[in-house]
């Protein structure tokens, strides 16, 4: 989910994965699968059917438990996050082995009820974002910026659009003041939506 191939390349080269890694510069998958953050995941079976719709891919909402003074997440939050990741990965492995018999693969009715519904405004944001990406690729950066600002307003739940188009820190991470302001204004909302899975903290 990166507009900039060269920003992502070092990560892939370092990890040297055995699985296929694709580059989605225009966030096409955000539009196709109604994704709003990374990591998000979809489970698709051998017949191309969704058995777990778009959901948080092993991450949980601990962002507001960051201890700025210590410069780290509170230990309890870190532990919970580690448990969440392990639980999710174990579920994936269970499904890889057991397929439809896995308790983690939804039956069609359950899968349908877990599909996140997208709004007209969010789809307008996806269209605008892809237009903006094209303009940016043509060097029309001011026009792109104006469009991106509108996209962020149309689809405020999308961290993908927000972090791709707002200020980066020196290391390339979009975790500057704008980002933290948006996090702090989440209120009751979650940064990562809870996953409906046994064992999730």
């Amino acid at each position: 989910m990166d507009a900039n191939i060269e920003a992502a390349r070092p990560w892939v080269e370092e990890a040297s994965p055995t699985f296929v890694t694709l580059i989605d510069q225009n966030h096409l998958l955000s539009s196709l699968y109604n994704m709003v953050n990374v990591p998000q995941a979809v489970w698709i079976d051998e017949q191309g059917r969704i058995v777990r719709p778009t959901e948080s891919g092993g991450s949980i909402d601990i962002l507001r438990e960051f201890d700025f003074e210590a410069g780290a997440f509170k230990p309890e939050a870190t532990e919970r996050a580690a448990t969440a990741k392990t639980t999710y990965l174990d579920a994936v492995k269970d499904w890889a082995v057991n397929g439809a018999a896995s308790q983690y693969a939804f039956e069609p009715d359950a899968a349908r009820s877990h599909v996140p519904v997208v709004s007209d405004a969010a789809m307008a944001a996806h269209a605008g974002f892809q237009l903006g990406q094209y303009l940016a690729s043509q060097g029309r950066n001011e026009e792109a910026e104006t469009i991106f600002a509108r996209c962020r307003e149309q689809h405020p739940d999308s961290w993908n659009i927000f972090r791709e188009t707002t200020e980066r820190m020196e290391g390339g991470i979009a975790a500057g003041e704008e980002f933290w302001n948006k996090v702090m204004s989440l209120g009751e909302k979650q940064y990562y939506a809870s996953v409906d899975m046994d064992g999730m903290p």
Binding site: M1, D2, N4, A7, A8, R9, W11, V12, V20, L22, I23, D24, N26, L28, L29, S31, L32, Y33, N34, V38, P39, A41, V42, W43, I44, D45, E46, Q47, G48, R49, I50, P53, G57, V92, W95, A96, P108, A111, R112, V115, V117, V118, D120, A122, M123, A124, H126, A127, G128, Q130, L131, Y134, L135, E143, I147, N160, R163, E164, G172, I173
Partner: protein, 135 residues
């Protein structure tokens, strides 16, 4: 010259840049797969009739008002201020229906060597589609 983009396509047309997207000849079909027939705007098995009494808003000689048609279908059309580049996007109804069908939407994207991969390449395998980003 107007560039018309969709999620899967990019077409250069001879249309005039404007706040309305009038496309001539087969430009609409080339860009989107939709074409004007006697029954209305059609793609695959679906036809959307031109609203009665509003034909002049949608058809002008051999040109069709693609932006008005797109709005009629409930789909978003994004454009530059001058209207020299348009993005014709998918609509919420279509996207929600597609996901509710549980048929995983296909896509084609490149890997880091530039080789293209489609989701359908992975039939007969279980696929964990998971996203990440450098940001």
């Amino acid at each position: 010259m107007v560039t018309v983009l969709t999620e899967t396509n990019s077409v250069e047309t001879n249309a005039a840049a404007s706040t309305t997207l009038w496309l001539g000849g087969d430009s609409l079909a080339a860009a989107t797969g939709w074409e004007l027939k006697p029954e209305g705007f059609c793609k695959d098995d679906v036809c959307v009739p031109v609203p009665a009494g509003q034909e002049d808003d949608f058809v002008r000689g051999d040109e069709v008002n693609a932006s008005a048609f797109w709005t009629l279908m409930g789909k978003p059309a994004a454009a530059t201020n001058d209207g020299d580049v348009w993005f014709l996007g998918e609509g919420a109804n279509q996207r929600n229906d597609a996901l509710a069908s549980l048929e995983a939407p296909n896509f084609t994207l490149p890997d880091f060597t530039g080789q293209l991969h489609s989701l359908t390449d992975f039939r007969r395998k279980r696929v964990l589609l998971i996203t990440w980003a450098s940001w």
